[in-house]
Symmetry: C2
Subunit: 336 residues, 2 copies
């Protein structure tokens, strides 16, 4: 398997990106193709013992800056690491593309000028993989499409279901529609219009699901529009970060707190991980003609390695073809 | 001041409702009018030394059950505690109505058959008061209106601003529009259409605000549609409940954990409170012709007393008239 890593992706690139690639090449044995500023990548690679490791470097001459908007990048930086990396996938020279860079830019380049969406997919969607309850749950969409139509949400459900089944290895995934109540009649217009379509979709749809049930792991796939999904993921991350930070802060302010904190810290680590996006490393952009995994900008090497792991799982599970086949299943046509 | 309490409101009614009313009458000295099943209320009152306390009882013959939908209650139970209680406010016999009952039913009765909306208000909205950062923040709407128009959100901002200024006593409240990014151009269609109107509203609008900034207390009023607001509040509550429950659970599983937990528990209490809806007790339904405070169904006596406290603050601040006056200020007319 050959996986492209955007070496210019993370906030501290190329440091954690290159280190994560080295770790992944060593641990998984797959070829990692580092794309970006060749000089900087090679200087970084020289820090590690990489003899015999399946690591390649492909140069990309243009660098994306903080000021570049996604639309500027699409047309104005055709030799960015995102363009060059996705081109390798489009040309069949690599099986997957992983980036911890600008999500909007990856999304825009992938959907408009490289690989592009799968024929029949209304809109590709961003997912997030979160360890709720005792297992990983896929949230889709978490930000690609702020305003959605019911038919798009049905496809998000299908794509999420395929990912859980093929990449995460769980049969017949349960699909929940994120809403403010479980009863029919709850939700906004989008939810109310989507509900009957999901019921008749042939997917293993378990109904509307509230944030509490989502966190308890009642469903394997949580479907929402990209605005609500983004709000929910951000609220979840911010709340847990703040709660743990405040506990730590209070614990540091007294002898009593320091002692209690020292005793509890190793026990709490597992809980902290449940809310930690780095644990999974990255999540797939689904609905495009290739495996694309997007990680957090703040990723460290561990997170980069885990993002590459997600790419391996997605390639092994043949998710792109499975989504294509899923679109050909008989599904109800919306009335509108 | 005379405050009506729906004695049949909470999940365990009338037990915590009556106890909270007794506590409020003793602590605040205002008259509390308990409305509901007179026999049950009086039996409950008999448990406490209430001699000399300003407590009255008004009978309501109909009881709301779990099976009653809000629309059934509106027309089918004209002598429910919600109807009778709101009628006292409409008739000027009381200054405020407090209920820990069915939110949808209170909303429906208040907006359609009793007191009704303030003239010029497009849609009344539910708020939530949450102790973010070092101060209380008003979120509006958190569930009354799942689908909103930009003009409605402008009024939510106005009403939230009035509440913070008049009931919570903070001058020139900062308004934030809840979105998935602070930059202009972020958000869904509703957010993008609302942004220019808020900028020109004459309110102290500070721009789009993300969940993280919301939790850090950057704004005094957070505006959103009722669906997103509801999702965000529920995610926040569920995440913090789950995080604290899991910490407690882990702490109980070993001697080490129990010791650490015992040391930290008194220090963490203050943090727990920041995410605890009972601490505030209730939040106002804004935009109707009277002070209406809605508490949690799970309220205990402490939460009920705190909900009555919110009603006192709202009455003292004359929020209904201030909202009315605010509507008469020159505000921009939306183009559409």
């Amino acid at each position: 398997m050959r996986i492209v890593l955007d070496a210019m992706g993370s906030d501290n690139c190329p440091v954690p990106d290159v280190e994560g690639a080295v770790q992944a090449a060593r641990e998984f044995g797959d070829t990692v193709i580092l794309v970006g500023d060749e000089t900087r990548i090679k200087a970084e690679l020289a820090k590690y013992p990489t003899a015999g490791l399946p690591i390649e470097v492909v140069h990309a001459s243009q660098t994306i800056t903080m000021e570049d908007t996604p639309s500027k990048i699409v047309k104005g930086k055709p030799d960015s690491s995102i363009h060059v990396g996705l081109q390798l996938v489009e040309d069949g020279k690599a099986d997957a593309f992983v980036s911890c860079g600008n999500t909007g830019a990856v999304l825009a380049v992938a959907t408009t000028v490289k690989i592009r969406r799968i024929q029949g997919i209304h809109r590709p969607a961003l997912s997030s993989i979160v360890p709720f309850g005792e297992r990983h749950v896929v949230l889709i969409d978490i930000g690609a499409n702020a305003d959605c139509k019911p038919e798009w949400l049905i496809q998000f459900a299908l794509m999420g279901s395929v990912y859980v089944e093929k990449a995460l290895g769980r049969q017949n995934p349960k699909i929940g529609l994120l809403s403010n109540g479980e009863e029919e009649g709850k939700g906004n217009e989008l939810i109310k219009s989507t509900l009957p379509l999901l019921i008749n979709s042939g997917l293993n749809f378990i109904g509307n699901i509230e944030p509490k049930e989502m966190l308890e792991g009642h469903a394997d796939v949580i479907v929402s529009d990209g605005f609500v999904g983004n709000m929910v993921v951000k609220t979840l991350e911010s709340t847990s970060s703040m709660a743990f930070a405040q506990i730590k802060n209070v614990a540091m302010q007294s002898i009593r707190g320091k002692l209690g904190g020292a005793l509890l810290k190793p026990l709490i680590g597992g809980i902290r991980k449940k809310f930690d996006p780095f644990e999974i490393g990255g999540a797939p952009l689904l609905g495009v003609n290739g495996v694309v995994i997007i990680g957090h900008g703040r990723s460290n090497a561990y997170a980069v390695k885990n993002a590459i792991r997600q790419a391996r799982l997605a390639v092994s599970g043949d998710i792109v073809n499975t989504i294509r086949q899923g679109l050909n299943r008989p599904t109800p046509t919306p009335d509108q």
